[in-house]
Subunit: 206 residues, 2 copies
């Protein structure tokens, strides 16, 4: 089912394809440890043809991190995230967060490994903190509305729930994925169901 | 409260102190990216004085990973982990896992970042899989005994609970820690309580 060789060669010069290569190399070697030479070699193109698409390594990092951050922030604007009881909004956001994570797995993986050595990395860390704060505020609101228990430190449990969700990038490899695709709808639903069941109701039999 | 300078200098040449430096450098730069020169520079000693203690870089990695793995496996042998209903044994193991993680934070952090490029790394990954399988078996047993819900895929929820616990190394910095210490008993208890409350009963108000 491979694409024709010529189509592949043309595609290699797309910014999106360059980004897919860059995100893989950044994740494998670390951003600091990756040179423009490494990127050119991995993409099978010259450095100058990379500069035809982007200003440099940090520009590529910025584009890659946007591809994770933009859909996450878009979730917060969806009607189901902004209307109704806070618990239902929280459930929607966590479910959609899992979906974005699966759909943009390599990009979210890179986002979660960002260190903060450059301006772009610090910007991404701040955006992550903003996203986490928005979800934590929703959880606090749901506790105020009496739908979430109030006996646990909200900051602590928010960290733990994010830890659980973010761990998905470490081990989740969609069974149904083809060539780096995102897996089937049913598979993603099953994962999101398990995350919500565990976070809201826990493992104990009732 | 700093130790006298001379005591520090002597201490630097202990294997334990060398290990503390090595684990920090391995975690910062990655094991592959760390040379014996890097380790000698970070420890403030010569390469030959490192070879006085260990056979080389991989030996240091092995010792560091043992310091995380040995106490984790010791937990599985404790009476409270081997006697009684499976749910109580599971609770004990998860609580003690959090305690080991906090007590040996830098070593468990390194363990969780191991890739598998060397024999020692592959050995550590196998030991991690063995530990995870032992805990997953305990969870399966608790479900058979009717104490854990049976409607969730056990492999999936085990991954998620480990993800939640392992995420602790990413963000937990004990408030009461001095000079890399492990934090107070009460603080560790609070963290373990939150992990167990979330994993077993979830966030929903009842």
């Amino acid at each position: 089912m491979a694409a024709p060789q010529t189509a592949r060669r043309v595609q290699r010069y797309d910014t999106a394809s360059l980004l897919a290569v860059a995100v893989r190399v950044f994740t494998e070697r670390g951003y600091d440890g990756t040179s423009m030479e490494d990127l050119a070699r991995a993409a099978g193109v010259s450095k100058s043809s990379i500069y035809h698409h982007v200003d440099g390594k940090e520009h590529l990092l910025h584009l890659a991190l946007e591809r994770a951050l933009d859909p996450l922030f878009a979730v917060l604007e969806e009607p189901a995230a902004t209307q109704g009881p806070a618990l239902a909004r929280l459930e929607h956001v966590l479910r959609r967060e899992v979906e974005v994570l699966v759909a943009e797995l390599p990009y979210v993986t890179l986002l979660l490994r960002v260190r903060g050595n450059t301006e772009t990395e610090r910007w991404a860390l701040q955006r992550r903190r903003d996203f986490d704060a928005a979800v934590a505020a929703l959880a606090a609101r749901a506790a105020q509305e009496g739908d979430l228990r109030a006996d646990l430190d909200p900051a602590l449990v928010t960290r733990l729930v994010f830890g659980m969700i973010n761990s998905v990038v470490e081990w989740y490899r969609p069974k149904s994925a083809r060539g780096g695709g995102a897996g089937s709808r049913a598979e993603t639903d099953g994962l999101a169901d398990a995350v919500l069941a565990l976070a809201l109701d826990g493992l104990r039999a009732r």
